[in-house]
């Protein structure tokens, strides 16, 4: 119930009580007059007294009504209006970050002025901490970008030198050593690249190149890329194409492939030999889903709320692999949400393992997909 209505009821109630008491006192006095005074209704004095009483009651009646109405108007003007303005100011700040205009509250009662000034200080604090957050985020992003450049330059030297060394006449054991060094230098290059990607995706500065693409073809291609790893791990990896055609999906193909790579790679990594990683699609009115189901070790309940956090690694995460830097799922979900989709997972109900579901929006008006 609004304050205005409460006041209306209170003042209205007061008015009603006053009016009842006026009417009651009128009848009471009238009755008393009959008992105490020696005249009848026909007397001139009786008439005059009666008229006076009616007149008097009417004046009090009108006066009371006026006073209460006036007090309602004044009260709502003094208290309700500034209070409503205050509410608007709070809403304006919360929804649109509009600053509070203090000059609007100079004529408000002291308490509301105080409230406005406290709120002004509060908004200043919020803005300050917001500005600080933005600054920290910018500095961090700049730092990552500079650090990436600084890391890459010596890395380039190591990589190129090792690749040149690989081509020299080497003994078998030397070849194996150089090959390991080359492989690790490539991993390091990839990590630096991933860090840069995160910093740009996280800061919202990443420029996606959206185009309509064939999701089935992308899935087939991605599954094919992992065929060798799956065979090596003795995990069966398969994609079941849908019976019906899927509409073209608007996406940044490279980024979505990156997301799929991450989930499939995770699935393969955490699925013991003999298990499987299967991929199916599902089309609803507004979305297309890619379900990637593994029969792996699963995600512990206590980790489930956190796996999409930056740098989070589940306790049972494979620690020895360099690719597991705790960033993959965080960026993967950010990419999915930047596409207007989402990335989620569920523990399998009918057995061990996890099913990750990537969803992407599909629109109805896709008769003529544009590039």
């Amino acid at each position: 119930m609004s304050l205005r209505r409460i006041i209306l009821f209170l003042i209205g109630g007061m008015l009603l009580l006053s009016l009842i008491s006026i009417v009651a006192s009128y009848f009471l006095i009238e009755h008393q007059m009959h008992v105490l005074l020696p005249f009848t209704d026909q007397d001139a004095t009786g008439h005059a007294l009666h008229g006076l009483l009616v007149q008097h009651s009417a004046i009090i009646f009108v006066f009371t009504t006026l006073i209460t109405s006036l007090s309602f108007i004044v009260f709502s003007d003094l208290v309700l209006k500034p209070l409503r303005k205050m509410v608007e100011a709070v809403e304006g700040f919360t929804e649109r970050s509009e600053p509070i205009v203090m000059s609007e509250f100079v004529s408000a009662p002291a308490e509301i002025q105080k409230l406005a000034s406290v709120f002004e200080q509060f908004t200043a604090k919020v803005e300050e901490s917001h500005a600080r957050d933005t600054e920290i985020s910018r500095v961090k992003s700049d730092f990552i970008s500079t650090a990436a450049h600084q890391f890459r330059t010596p890395l380039t030297g190591i990589r190129w030198a090792l690749e040149a060394l690989e081509k020299e006449e080497l003994t078998e054991s030397q070849k194996a050593l150089v090959a390991s060094a080359v492989e690790k230098s490539h991993s390091l290059v990839n990590i630096v690249g991933t860090l840069l990607d995160i910093s740009s995706i996280e800061s919202g500065k990443h420029k996606y190149s959206f185009a309509y693409a064939d999701l089935i073809e992308l899935l087939a291609e991605t599954v094919n890329d992992f065929a060798e790893l799956a065979t090596r791990n003795n995990v069966s990896l398969y994609f079941v194409p849908p019976q019906d055609e899927l509409p073209q999906v608007r996406m940044d193909r490279e980024r979505i492939k990156w997301v799929l790579n991450n989930i499939i790679e995770n699935g393969l990594r955490y699925t013991p030999a003999g298990g499987s990683v299967s991929i199916v699609t599902q089309l609803t009115a507004q979305r297309v889903y890619v379900h990637i189901r593994d029969t792996g070790i699963g995600i512990q309940p206590k980790d489930r709320d956190n796996i999409f956090e930056r740098f989070y690694r589940a306790e049972n995460a494979v620690a020895k692999e360099n690719a597991g830097n705790g960033l993959g799922l965080y960026i993967a979900r950010t990419i999915a949400t930047d596409h207007g989709g989402d990335l989620n997972f569920k523990a399998n109900e009918d057995g061990p393992g996890t099913t990750f579901s990537l969803s992407l929006p599909v629109s109805e008006s896709q008769a003529t997909p544009s590039a």
């Binding site: 450049h149 890459r152 330059t153 380039t156 990589r159 190129w160 040149a164 290059v189 690249g193």
Partner: protein, 152 residues
């Protein structure tokens, strides 16, 4: 008959320069510049067929070098430029593209073989139209005498 291609490599890191030279030696006639001013001077004097350009350079950065090349009024304006840098953010790529670079490679993410492949494909792509115009071939031939041996 075989036209020798001169390549201008702009790279300030001596180690990376040597590693590039290690692969390029015998394949191309290569010129090396270690900073932006030197790059433009060598470019002017030797009229290379293609430029490999780093971005973070002393005296004058790669963006400025690229801008200077593309704002020329003679035929050298269209010499292909492949940016090979460790700067890899979208904003850098877009800026370089807007300035008119033919390609962008992130140094750490490619092997020298991939750089060579990109060089070859870019040279082949630009050779076709260049061969059709005799004006473009003449100054390149005249420059042969002034090209110093690769300073590896």
């Amino acid at each position: 008959m075989a036209e020798t291609k001169f390549i201008l490599v702009v790279e300030d890191d001596p180690v990376l320069k040597n590693l590039l030279g290690h692969t390029f030696a015998g394949k191309y006639q290569t010129l090396y510049a270690s900073d932006g001013n030197e790059a433009l001077a060598l470019f002017e004097a030797n009229k290379p067929s293609i430029v490999l350009l780093d971005l973070m350079l002393p005296t004058m950065d790669g963006f400025a070098v690229l801008e200077a090349i593309r704002s020329r009024t003679d035929e050298l304006k269209n010499v292909p430029v492949i940016v090979v840098s460790n700067l890899g953010q979208d904003k850098d790529k877009e800026r370089v593209k807007a300035l008119g670079a033919n390609d962008y490679l992130i140094k750490a993410e490619v092997s020298i073989e991939e750089i060579v492949a990109k060089l070859e494909s870019t040279l082949n792509a630009s050779a076709a139209p260049a061969a059709a115009t005799p004006d473009a071939a003449a100054p390149a031939a005249g420059a042969d005498a002034t090209v110093p041996p690769p300073a590896v």
